[in-house]
């Protein structure tokens, strides 16, 4: 599939925004921290901006962004519609949470729980939108949606972590949470990568409906390109994709774990370590963008069979 920049950006950034609530919720529920106003304002603003820019950028790839409001109507059948609706609904507890939390009104925990719930629902819808497409076997996989959610939580938590780090808040339990999330994420990813190697039951024989030991593509409808070939048929060399997978794992999984585990042994200026933790988050974000890029570029739409793609 064509790796559209706006879609990649949207899914990663808004996913991070939503994930922040999960990371925060963990701390609010299990770690005793008294957050200062600065922290609250920064976190609120950052999560809000991530979600909003993500959503806005997602409309960038639309042919008619001004008609985007129509996208809520088909929630009964369309995951995209549901995603839009869930995103909008999330804003309600989210804004209320910001308000309650910032001015310290009790009940913000309930609102945070609601926000987190709807955040996961929103990412779930995003994931399902891809996972429900039978036409793209590597997306039509039960791990796609969990990975979308885990990615969001991973990045969101790393954001919260770096922020907590900056503000010198207690990190002990949260570190374990992050270890577990990253481990889960990593395992899911590995299992996913193995499982997408399986051949799809859609192949050239079913595509043209003729059984044969060998079907080769002779000529296409055009000697040049067309919408389908540019949108659906993209390839990346296997060496490059393997390399990018490693880069992703290093940036999004290994670096955070290493830094979280080892920062105390690093002898340097504490401020630099604080900044480093922010950089760790940014690197993990870049890693996730690479992952999302691979998610698109490596996925093979079955229409490619009609253009000579091998199963």
């Amino acid at each position: 599939m064509h790796p559209s920049k706006s879609i990649i950006f949207f899914t990663v950034i808004s996913g991070t925004g939503y994930g922040i609530f999960i990371g925060l919720l963990f701390n609010v529920l299990f770690v005793e921290i008294s957050y200062n106003l600065e922290y609250k304002l920064f976190l609120s603003l950052a999560s809000f901006l991530m979600i909003v820019t993500g959503l806005l950028s997602s409309t960038l790839h639309l042919g008619h962004p001004e008609r985007a409001w129509r996208a809520f109507s088909q929630w009964k059948t369309s995951w995209l519609s549901r995603e839009g609706l869930a995103a909008v609904i999330t804003f309600i507890p989210m804004i209320l949470f910001y308000y309650f939390w910032i001015i310290n009104i009790s009940g913000y925990i309930l609102l945070l729980i609601l926000t987190s719930f709807f955040s996961i629902i929103t990412i779930f819808c995003t994931g399902q939108m891809y996972a429900s497409l039978k036409t793209i076997p590597s997306w039509n996989n039960p791990l796609v949606t969990p990975i979308y959610i885990l990615n969001g939580i991973t990045l969101g938590s790393l954001f919260v972590y770096s922020l907590n780090f900056y503000f010198n808040y207690n990190l002990n339990l949260f570190e374990k949470f992050i270890y577990i999330i990253i481990l889960l994420n990593f395992l899911s990813k590995i299992i996913y990568w193995i499982s997408v190697r399986k051949k799809s039951n859609t192949n050239i024989e079913t595509a043209i409906g003729i059984k044969s030991n060998g079907i080769t593509f002779f000529e296409g409808p055009h000697t040049g390109k067309n919408y389908l070939t540019t949108e659906m048929i993209n390839t990346i060399r296997i060496q490059n994709s393997n390399l990018l997978r490693i880069v992703f794992c290093v940036l999004s999984f290994i670096t955070p774990i290493y830094m979280i585990n080892q920062y105390s042994s690093l002898v340097t200026d504490p401020f630099i370590i604080k900044i480093s933790m922010i950089i760790v988050f940014v690197l993990a974000l870049i890693g996730m963008i690479i992952e999302r890029y691979l998610f698109f570029i490596q996925s093979k739409h079955v229409v490619g069979l009609y253009y000579g793609n091998k199963n």
Binding site: M1, H61, G63, W79, S212
Partner: protein, 246 residues
């Protein structure tokens, strides 16, 4: 309706005979010609005289070489346009309801007024039957010539999709595939017409008729020389021939 109709009154669609399609592209070009001024007008071309021309087409021909058990390879020309599926995934993924299947005849259309151009329907379609029009920012697709097949301004015998009326070999048929008594359904059953990618569960209305591979209608594999003598000479042959004709 983004929700698919439970049942359509008719199931209009095409039947394509791969046994006689010669891959001449007539259907594809005639389709483009009708539709560029038709319901989804225009079917634009980008850089039509440039170094990388491309454009919107609703119907395309692909060619494959298929290994067969009996006759070596078989070249198969394979035309493909929208199959107007009963369980059209392009319809159910649409967030706005712009992509819909008509109750009356099952034709899948896109409402150009409400399409937001998210392209998701084109991702959901396994057959590549959707075409994004960058200039209009909306998705377009085969309309089964909805503005031709019912057009009161055309004589009745011209009210068939452009791809069907133009096809020189007669490889394309059009009709109600939901009507058990129709000729087209009989044709499909007689020729064992099939669905493309049945495992995608789209229940396409359009059917394909397979190439016939075995056609053994002859009794003998070689002729018997009139003379038994393998190296008969010419005079002997003449004698045998004349004897036979007497």
């Amino acid at each position: 309706m983004t929700e698919l109709p439970k049942k359509t009154n008719k199931k209009l669609g095409l039947v394509i005979d791969l046994d006689i399609c010669v891959g001449c592209h007539a259907c594809a070009v005639n389709c483009k010609e009708w539709n560029t001024s038709g319901h989804s007008s225009p079917l634009h071309d980008v850089e039509p005289y440039g170094d990388d021309p491309t454009g919107v087409w609703f119907n395309r021909i692909h060619t494959f070489e298929v290994e067969t058990e009996v006759k070596g390879s078989k070249t198969v020309h394979f035309p493909k346009s929208c199959l107007h599926c009963e369980d059209a995934p392009c319809v159910s993924v649409c967030p706005t309801g712009a992509s819909y299947k008509r109750d009356e005849d099952g034709i899948v259309l896109v409402n150009a007024e409400t399409c937001i151009g998210c392209k998701l329907c084109s991702w959901a379609c396994p057959y590549g039957a959707r075409e994004y029009d960058e200039t209009a920012g909306v998705m377009k697709k085969c309309t089964l010539c909805v503005d031709k097949i019912y057009n009161e301004n055309l004589p009745e015998n011209e009210r068939v999709p452009a791809c069907v009326s133009s096809c020189p070999t007669g490889a394309r048929s059009f009709g109600d595939l939901g009507d058990e008594n129709s000729e087209i359904v009989k044709l499909v059953s007689e020729r064992e017409g099939y669905n493309l990618m049945p495992e995608q569960d789209c229940k396409p209305v359009n059917k394909y008729l397979p190439p016939k591979l075995n056609k053994d209608i002859f009794k003998n594999k070689e002729l018997k020389p009139i003379s038994k003598d393998e190296d008969q000479d010419f005079e002997d042959w003449i004698e045998q021939v004349q004897g036979a004709s007497e």
